[in-house]
Amino acid sequence: MQPQFILRLSSPPVFFRVTGKALPWLIGASLLLGAIGLWSGLFVTPTDAQQGEVYRVLYVHVPTAWMSMLLYVVASFYAGLHLVFRTSVSAVMMRAMLPTGAWMTVLALVTGSLWGKPTWGTYWIWDARLTFELLLLFIYLGLIAVASLIDDERKTDQLLSVFTLVGLVNIPLIYFSVVFWNTLHQGASLSMSGGSKMAPIMKATLLVCVLAMWLACAALAMARARWQLVERERDSAWTGSVLA
């Protein structure tokens, strides 16, 4: 991708137009991949030898847990961009990640506890990973509160960027908690070093579900960012074309 194209994306009208064209594709691809992932996860993949059928919760739980962290990392990326370049697009993208990220964290916690009851014998335990994930939810809620409580958007953007970057420290704590501490939560389902012991069909299905979830979250965040941008730029001439 050309660097100039990325720079042009920071222009609000260009961002609005490009994301408007990308959204139907993102939504279509996420629906297609989500349907394939669900079908494969529920009907194609074999039953797990140790956990039985309930392991299939993993096809929802793992993607939501990854998205809860990834969306925060992306929000932090935009927070950093905003502190350097102060563009409206970076501010709205940072803000747009937060509600979807919070929802993904709620889903990760709820689906995890529903899986935990038959597998661990309890819905909740103050395990390192679970506790840091819960902390992530509180961070998301705190940032959403800051974003909505203060009227001056430009000032809030600065504050929100700094707070978002501070909260980033929690992400490696979640991800590496199973390495740093002795936890009830099992290790990584998939690893970059290829150390996963999952059957290839399970691994492929999980990757499809993760991709579907990522595309769906990207579409939601992008759609939210577009309308936040129009609201913020409503005095600019380009927003007139929105009604056309």
């Binding site: 669900l38 529920l42 039985g52 059928e53 309930v54 299939r56 919760v57 929802v60 739980h61 939501t64 509600p99 979807t100 929802w103 709620v106 889903l107 709820v110 689906t111 529903l114 899986w115 009851k117 038959p118 769906a216 939601l220 759609a223 939210r224 309308w227 936040q228 129009v230 609201e231 409503r234 005095d235 600019s236 001439a237 927003t239 007139g240 929105v242 009604l243």
Partner: protein
């Protein structure tokens, strides 16, 4: 309830919850979009200095 039935119910709840979250999140975006469009329709003049009805602009 057998373990398989219980597992099926758990999986169904997880899938439904996920879909519900996407519906709620998507609906909140559509609501925000409608509100923004409403504001734009009610106030089509983009530049307040060109608004002849604005008493502050003489």
């Amino acid at each position: 309830m057998s373990a398989t039935m219980s597992a099926t119910a758990t999986i169904a709840v997880c899938v439904m919850l996920t879909l519900l979250v996407f519906v709620i999140d998507g609906w909140s975006i559509l609501r925000a979009r409608r509100a923004v469009l409403e504001v734009l329709r009610q106030d089509p003049l983009q530049d307040p200095l060109q608004d002849p009805l604005d008493p502050d602009v003489r």
